[in-house]
């Protein structure tokens, strides 16, 4: 039996800012082709975790391995094989969509740039905006442009920080379908944060709920609902957000 390759591995990951533990004791594996939801209320540590994994912020406890490498020592090798998209980052607003993607494809050393840019624009259905100045894009187009950037280097791991925030249901669906397609076609692994629990149930194979920087529940969406005796992930979310002392639920002992 062949086990899927672990692409992201953290052991007791932690970060403290001014004596406040933003993240602590976080251990998980993300395997090839898996979508793992990192969930929790604002300030739970989801975005910080992604920043730690991407090296934007240095961690001060624990270990991280991405694609079998130490991202602090092999930063370039790791970053050239992963990517990130967030509803909260932007791109140079005075550049056109095509110019922005051209710059990033150069940064990532993409071969056959023109073809690749056309391909990602087509996939995210914003080909018609390719000559538009980025500052003139709608928020839906901007989010899709961010995703286009994130797909330029054919990443093996994609970090997604609320990628569908502020999107209308139609475009959000396009984004979800795209992510599902990428997972199916390329076995791309994704670490996904979102506040939309219906979306999480649709997309994520497993979820980890964080609260005040540490894990409070983990498992498949169904396992977590069952363990917390809730009918929906929305219910789990609300319960975690309102009750600060939730016991660890789900199959947390598996630490996968």
């Amino acid at each position: 039996m062949k086990f899927p390759t672990t692409v992201v591995k953290t052991r007791e990951l932690g970060k403290t800012f001014d004596n406040i533990k933003a993240v602590y004791g976080l251990t998980f594996n993300l395997v090839q082709g898996e979508i793992l939801g990192l969930l929790g209320p604002n300030g739970a540590g989801k975005t910080t975790t992604i920043q730690l994994l991407l090296g934007l912020t240095t961690y001060d406890a624990g270990e991280v391995s991405i694609l079998g490498m130490d991202p602090t020592r092999q930063r370039r090798e790791v970053l050239s094989r992963v990517n990130f998209s967030s509803a909260y980052t932007s791109m140079p607003t005075n550049l056109t969509v095509w110019e922005n993607l051209n710059v990033f494809s150069l940064l990532y050393g993409v071969k056959n740039r023109k073809k690749k840019i056309e391909e990602v624009l087509e996939r995210l259905k914003i080909t018609e905006a390719r000559h538009k100045v980025t500052g003139m894009l709608s928020s839906g187009q901007l989010t899709r442009l961010n995703l286009c950037k994130a797909l330029l280097n054919d990443p093996e791991v994609l970090f997604l920080d609320e990628p569908t925030a502020s999107l209308d249901p139609d475009i959000a669906d396009v984004v979800r379908q795209t992510l599902q397609g990428l997972r199916r076609e390329r076995g791309m692994a994704m670490l996904y944060t979102s506040h939309n629990m219906y979306e999480v149930e649709e997309l994520c194979d497993r979820v980890i709920f964080l609260h005040h920087g540490h894990e409070v529940a983990r498992g498949t969406p169904d396992e977590v609902k069952l363990a917390m005796n809730e009918k929906s992930l929305e219910g789990v979310f609300v319960r975690i957000a309102r009750g600060g002392d939730v016991e660890t639920a789900g199959n947390g002992d598996g630490r996968n």
Partner: protein, 261 residues
């Protein structure tokens, strides 16, 4: 490596292709400054100081080399903060050295464009040719450019360390250096202790040397070598400080927080 440096330079070329405000910063403001102070100098020459124009215009143009070089470097990163692109940039496989090198190339391009424009305007309006100072102009230009890089890297380091509140330093730091660099007067008019400080700046030796050259005298034998030599520790300090502060920004979360916060 070169492809990533080229990518960052291209990003700014695209910006300048479309932004009137950014082009005004490298051409319009310096030219307006030259016109105001150039005519004022002509007036001063007429009523009090014949021959002062060459010194003043030469200093004005060369000061722009340092100023624009520093500004270009500081702006190139600050611009990324303004448009929320910092995270995208720093999660790409670009190294600190490549970022530093790309911003230095931007400094070279911008200050060259500004200098060429100013030299043309000075020639057209005042009949002043900066090359009257001779070919020494070229190494002096290089020294000011490199010092601008060093100061730009120091400024960028401060922005990473202290956050966007430190943006005022982009404009403030050159104004701190201007009186100390003896741009428009000989360094020996400074009080003794300030004179010692000014001697530590490569720019002081450039302006002293240029004044001598424009006056048709031999520049001090140590002006150019001193300017070159002093640039070495300044550039090393700038690069080191930038690199350390970037690492510190990662440690305290400033790099990510400035956009995501």
């Amino acid at each position: 490596m070169w492809q990533r440096i080229y990518a960052l330079v291209l990003r700014h070329v695209y910006l300048h292709k479309r932004s009137l405000a950014r082009n005004m910063e490298i051409v319009f403001w310096p030219v307006m400054g030259l016109l105001v102070w150039g005519f004022f100098t002509k007036y001063i020459e007429r009523v009090a100081l014949p021959g002062a124009g060459a010194f003043f215009l030469g200093s004005l143009i060369l000061w722009e080399v340092l100023y624009r070089s520093q500004q270009a470097i500081s702006y190139s990163i600050t611009e990324e903060f303004w448009v929320g692109n910092v995270i995208n940039l720093f999660i790409s496989p670009i190294s600190t050295l490549e970022i530093g090198a790309a911003t230095c190339v931007m400094g070279l391009l911008k200050s060259t464009v500004t200098t060429v424009f100013l030299m043309l305007m000075a020639f057209v309006f005042y009949g002043f040719d900066l090359f009257d100072a001779g070919l020494l102009l070229i190494p002096y230009y290089g020294c000011l450019l490199v010092f601008g890089w060093a100061v730009g890297l120091l400024t960028m380091g401060m922005i990473f360390r202290f956050g966007r509140g430190a943006e005022a330093l982009i404009w403030g730091v050159p104004f701190l250096l201007e009186p100390l660099s003896a741009v428009f007067y000989p360094a020996d008019v400074l009080p003794r202790w300030l004179w010692w400080v000014s001697m530590c700046l490569p720019s002081t030796h450039v302006f002293e040397g240029m004044r001598a050259a424009l006056a048709g005298k031999d520049a001090g034998p140590w002006d150019l070598p001193m300017a070159f030599l002093l640039n070495v520790p300044w550039l090393a300090a700038g690069g080191l400080y930038f690199s350390r502060m970037l690492a510190r920004a990662r440690e305290i979360g400033n790099l990510a927080r400035q956009v995501v916060d």
